[in-house]
């Protein structure tokens, strides 16, 4: 499991166990459970980024995933998936386009989920929001 965790960090095509499957609008996101320190309630007054923005929606009340370095990403729903799944690799171009926040894809609960790095994705969302603002 620890190996798998390492692999998933360096090699996205390795096995990973313990995921947080999230919904933001009609999009699906997956985060490693170990990247999340706590799950809190997300409110608009928090000014933290929300995953709905990535899908072209405005933020909505939901849950806030807090990383170890304090980054926060808001999502609509969160569920815990404890089964080990294979991490599918992603094209480098896609990785660069998303600020290296995507770690690969996982297949769980009969569908394919993009596996994201919580801190990077949070910063990516902030950067995307500021760039969109300018």
């Amino acid at each position: 499991m620890a190996e798998a965790q390492d692999v998933s960090r360096d090699r996205p095509s390795a096995m990973v166990a313990g995921l947080l499957l999230c919904r933001a609008a009609d999009g699906c996101l997956a985060f490693r459970a170990r990247d999340v320190v706590a799950v809190e309630a997300w409110t608009a007054s928090d000014r933290s980024p929300h995953a709905r923005v990535a899908f072209g929606y405005s933020p909505h009340q939901g849950r806030a995933l807090v990383s170890a370095d304090g980054e926060v990403v808001g999502v609509d729903e969160v569920s815990v998936f404890a089964e080990p799944v294979t991490v599918l690799a992603t094209p480098a171009l896609l990785g660069r386009a998303m600020g290296k926040s995507i770690a690969g894809f996982v297949f769980a609960r009969d569908r394919l989920w993009p596996l994201l790095r919580l801190s990077e994705f949070s910063r990516f969302l902030v950067t995307s929001q500021e760039g969109a603002r300018f």
């Binding site: 170990r34 999340v36 799950v39 849950r63 969160v78 815990v80 404890a82």
Partner: protein
């Protein structure tokens, strides 16, 4: 007596009055009767008085003087009674109606006055003669005076009556002559109204005088002769001489006594004859005039001068003639007018006949219209009664509506109050629901936090790997419970929201209902007021309709009577038109007018009378 006065020869020649000498002529019978009576009295005295020797001449002188004196004086008094007539005859008074009326009055009254003068002068004359004769030597009042007075009392009435009867005839003639000078019968009647009715008394007097006086005188003369004869017989010295004297008296012819008796009886017969003539003459005249009037000759009745009842009969005949003349004149005028009117009536009847046809047609139409009017009136009366019933029902319905509306208004007020209560209850309920919402929100927050805790717990269990697997399962189960709580709370919130919306809607509906009810209450109040007015109007309408119904019934009765009257008029008019009664009546009237004119034409009326009557009656 000679009429006229010898003391007016120097007067210029003037037309002689028709009444000249009438007064003297009128009084002449009285003078003649006085002289004749005096002669008869002297004759009677010679027969019955024992005139002392040597006093015969004195007796004759006294008698002649008395007769002359009292005849002259009596004539003078009588002439005074004919004062106006004498002056008219002398031309000293004009022959105007007033003087003529006065003269006629004197002439009418003269016989009675002359009779009274004669009686008085006879009494005075015989008494004075007896008194003077009794003064002669050898004569005594008891012997000669009383006999002479008795003689006067016996001969006075018969002489006066004879004079009266002769004067009556002349008096009538004088009145006729006076009337001929310018007095109508009416004026004569007015001058001497027929008031005295003494014919029966006069006849009694005439009979008494004509029978009693001669009988008394004859008996007296006979008794006196008997007494003288007995004295002569008794004067004989012996029986033979007495028988001889009686035989001489028996053989002695007393022509003087026979003459006296004949004269006295003749006077009685003359009185009877003259009295009968005095009565029968005017009666014959009245009879002749009455026959003339009865034959249709209505010319003016001449003056029939008479006395007492005869004068009244004559004047009554004249009045009757005047009345008949007047009536016939009016009748004649009326007949002429009737004839003219009948002609006009004939023309009018022809016009009326045409008008009657038009009237008949109009009456037919009017009768039909009247019958239709009666039928309409009956229908109107029936409708009026129905309208009255409807008006009463309307009034009753209006009153019921008023009561219902008042009840409705009361219910509306009560519903408004209930709605207010409902609104207040709903408001309280809404508040409670809000409180429940807050509680549910609190529960939802707890559920959400519980879900979040369970999620973190599951996350931590998952991070722990196999060790935390059981923990994760418990946390997942708790998370599902928390989610269930949150979902249920969410459903409760939805329900509460729905309840609150419904409650708000109920409150709004209640408020709207309250407003509607308030508006309804106002409308109900207005409706009550309107219904009150409607009830009053309905009552008035009911009264008015009832009055109209009564009036209509009366009108129907009157119209029915009118229709019956029109039917009766139509029937009478049809009968009259069918019978042509007006034409028949006109023909009958024309015939009557002709007959009347013919009958009136049979009377002969003087033209001046017709003109006078026409002028009097217009």
């Amino acid at each position: 007596m000679t009429p006229g006065s010898p003391s007016t020869p120097a007067a210029p020649a003037a037309p002689a009055s028709p009444l000249e000498g009438q007064s003297r002529w009128l009084a002449t019978p009285s003078t003649i009767a006085g002289i004749g009576g005096g002669a008869l009295a002297v004759f009677y005295g010679l027969l019955t008085l024992e005139i002392p020797p040597g006093t015969g001449l004195w007796f004759a002188l006294i008698a002649v003087a008395a007769v002359t004196l009292f005849t002259v004086v009596g004539d003078s008094v009588e002439q005074r009674c004919l004062h106006t007539l004498r002056r008219l005859g002398e031309g000293k008074l004009p022959p105007v109606p007033a003087n003529l009326s006065s003269a006629a009055r004197e002439a009418f009254a003269f016989p009675d006055r002359s009779f009274l003068v004669n009686i008085v002068f006879w009494c005075v004359g015989t008494l004075s003669c007896g008194l003077v004769f009794s003064l002669l030597p050898g004569a005594t009042w008891e012997e000669a005076g009383i006999r002479i007075a008795t003689m006067g009392f016996a001969l006075g009435p018969i002489t006066s009556t004879l004079a009266y009867l002769m004067l009556v005839d002349r008096s009538r003639a004088a009145v006729a002559k006076i009337a001929a000078l310018g007095l109508t019968t009416e004026q004569v009647t007015e001058a001497w109204p027929p008031r005295r009715r003494q014919l029966r008394a006069r006849l009694i007097w005439f009979t008494a005088v004509s029978v009693a006086t001669p009988s008394l005188l004859v008996a007296d003369v006979w008794q006196q002769e008997m007494r003288l004869g007995m004295e002569k017989v008794a004067a004989g010295h012996n029986l033979a001489e007495r028988l001889l004297r009686a035989a001489e008296l028996q053989d002695e012819g007393r022509w003087d006594l026979a003459l006296f008796v004949a004269l006295v009886v003749g006077m009685g017969l003359a009185i009877a004859f003259v009295a009968g003539s005095a009565i029968s003459r005017p009666l014959r005249a009245i009879t002749d005039e009455a026959r003339r009037v009865a034959s249709g000759d209505l010319r003016r009745v001449p003056l029939i001068a008479a006395e007492d009842e005869l004068w009244a009969a004559g004047t009554a005949l004249a009045d009757m003639q005047r009345g008949l003349t007047s009536a016939l004149s009016r009748l004649q005028g009326a007949a002429q007018k009737l004839a003219r009117s009948t002609d006009q009536l004939g023309d009018a009847s022809a016009t009326n006949r045409a008008g009657a046809d038009e009237q008949m047609a109009s009456l037919n139409e009017t009768s039909a219209t009247t019958e239709e009017l009666a039928a309409s009136a009956a229908q109107i009366a029936e409708n009026g009664a129905q309208v009255a019933q409807m008006a009463e029902r309307t009034a009753a319905a209006a009153r019921a509506g008023q009561r219902s509306c008042q009840a409705f208004s009361f219910s509306m007020a009560r519903m408004t109050l209930d709605n207010d209560r409902i609104g207040a209850a709903v408001a309280r309920l809404n508040k409670r629901v809000q409180q429940i919402g807050q509680v549910v929100e609190f529960i939802q927050g707890i559920g959400d936090k519980a879900d979040l805790l369970a999620l973190n717990a599951e996350l931590e269990g998952t991070k722990a790997g196999e060790v935390g697997r059981g923990f994760s399962l418990v946390a997942a189960e708790m998370r599902r419970l928390a989610e269930t709580v949150v979902n249920s709370a969410q459903e409760i919130v939805l329900l509460i929201t729905e309840i609150r919306d419904r409650a708000n809607a109920a409150v709004m509906a209640t408020e709207s209902g309250i407003k509607a009810m308030q508006a309804g209450a106002v409308l109900a109040d207005r409706l009550v007021s309107s219904l009150t007015v409607i009830v009053e109007l309905a009552d008035r309408t009911s009264d008015a309709v009832r009055s109209i119904s009564i009036s209509t019934q009366q009108q129907q009765s009157g119209t029915t009577q009118l229709a019956q009257a029109m039917s009766e008029i139509l029937r009478v008019t049809m009968e009259a038109q069918a019978g042509g009664s007006l034409v028949k009546h006109h023909e009958v009237l024309s015939a009557l007018a002709g007959t009347l004119q013919q009958n009136v034409a049979t009377f002969r009326i003087q033209s001046d009378q017709i003109q006078a009557e026409g002028a009097r009656h217009g």
